[in-house]
Amino acid sequence: MNSPLFIALDVNHGTLPAANGANYFENLFVSVFGYSTAGTVLGAGLAMFLACLAVFGFVNVFALFAVWLERKVSAHMQCRLGPMEVGPHGVLQTIADGVKLTVKEDIIPKVADKPLFIIAPAIVFAGTFIRFVPLPFSQYATAADLNLGLFFIASVGSVEVLGVIMAGWSSNNKWSLLGTIRTATQMVSYEIPIGIAFVTVAVSAGSLSLNEIVGQQEGWFFNWFVFRNPFLMTVSIVYLIAALAECKRSPFDLPEAESELVSGFHTEYSGIRFALFFLAEYAAMYIVSAVAVVIFLGGWWSGIPAIDQIGMGQGASTFEVVLGILIKAHVLIGKAIGIVFVQMWIRWTLPRVRLDQMMYLCWKVLLPISLVCLVGSAMWDLAMGAFADSNEYFLFFIPK
């Protein structure tokens, strides 16, 4: 079922009674547009547009929040207060900054390669934005439930590198070019541990669909994939480190190392184009965090079955179904924000690594460890499966 609806019309996926959430939206859809082909096509187009708009709105609001959060977290870790003037505790500061960035003069250097310079931020942002397509926001709330969701996220993310290379090359600036070379090195290298982490999860889950992976982690929190076996726990840490590097965030912010490269690949950018790079960075932070939540930390399951069961039973009313979906959305996004916080925490603690240290970490530490974990996790599941279903075990191998 590859429905483009934001609330996917996925009846076969869950075990839902007729009066439930998904059917409710399908009935609404049919009652508005009817069963005719033209109506369905029009409806699908409209739904696609709405889904895009909703995800875009989410990205913007999240970026506004995350920038504010980052400034507050950094301030309190450094014995400061951070933004305090615009709104209570400066919550509206990022909106003011956004307005400032949009009305600023948009400078294109004379020697820059103009078409590439203009298109680069859009490609970076699109490369980040398109990764939201298979990402679930809650149960039944996915833009499109691709059965290759994990693979899609890993592969489409590489488009971002192209945009960054374009930006650095077209700027015609030595800082930008150096930053670009570092970015290309870093992002291409760190895709490999991330890919192997995804494969490890896929081997355990037996599926690449994100909704399917989350569905397997239902129940108490020890059913989450982090706690499934020690190899998955290790690989989740490997994924977190590699994701930091993939987002170009400290301690792996070599591409924009302020002390050496002014600002790296976006040195020459100003105004709205710079804002797009900024937005893409924070959107990427959310994506890697949300993917970590989905594949390791139980996705929308809160870890307590009593909360998860709201709106799931046979006789659930529409209100209960919607309430359940909202609770699950809060759980998923809350967990993702928790991981975003950890990323910020790391950023304001650790100093930047050297280029050779960064490459050493990727190729000589993360890659071997993740490979061992891939084999180990598969063997573990095989061995445990020979005795019983692995869901019978509480924390690795201790029986419930």
Binding site: M77, R80, M84
Partner: protein, 197 residues
């Protein structure tokens, strides 16, 4: 690199990361929840204590001033302007009364002042001081001159008053001179008349 070193390296890095992150988390929580460590002062609403000997904006004890011009003379940047009439009963009666003077103007130009505090040193009655105030600001450099007599910005009205006082002073002096001359003339005339007699 031996295998032992490889793993001890990874372990050491992990350990130091845990130590560092626990320190930042400690500071984050204590700063956020218990308001400890925070050094930022929200300036317009709250202020740090000003040191006792802080050299800020001047203030003048007008009634003590004897208009000796010593502060103005010692000022390295010549930013103190004084006008008035010396002597306890000066010609000008409408200014600010000092001990032995009548002042019509006593201003400091803060576009020039360097807050060296030298003006305080030679003052015989110790009447000019650099006070604790420090935020003296304006959107126009003409408004950066402070009238120490009224403790406010030196305005055009003050300027008019000073101008009037200047003219009045000249007029009064001329008047006195004319009176004296007339008196002398009268005296001379009287003497001549006596001689004639």
């Amino acid at each position: 690199m031996s295998v032992t070193r490889y793993f001890s390296n990874i372990f050491g890095v992990g350990k130091s990361i845990v130590i560092g992150m626990s320190i930042t988390m400690k500071y984050f929580v204590e700063s956020l929840l218990f308001k400890k460590h925070t050094v930022t002062v929200q300036y317009p609403r709250e202020m740090d204590a000003i040191p006792e000997r802080h050299r800020g904006i001047h203030y003048l004890e007008t009634e003590k001033c004897i208009m000796c011009w010593k502060c103005s003379d010692i000022c390295p940047v010549d930013c103190i302007y004084i006008e008035g009439v010396r002597g306890a009963d000066g010609v000008l009666k409408d200014g600010w009364r000092g001990k032995k003077a009548t002042l019509s103007k006593f201003t400091v130009d803060y576009t020039v002042c360097i807050f060296c505090g030298l003006c305080e040193e030679p003052c015989p009655p110790l009447c000019i001081h650099l006070g604790p105030e420090f935020d003296y600001h304006s959107t126009d450099r003409k408004l950066m001159e402070k009238n120490l007599l009224t403790d406010a910005v030196y305005t055009e009205d003050d300027e008019k008053f000073v101008q009037w006082a200047r003219d009045e002073n000249v007029r009064l002096i001329d008047e006195t001179k004319a009176k004296k001359a007339a008196a002398r003339a009268a005296k001379a005339a009287a003497a001549e008349q006596e001689k004639d007699d």
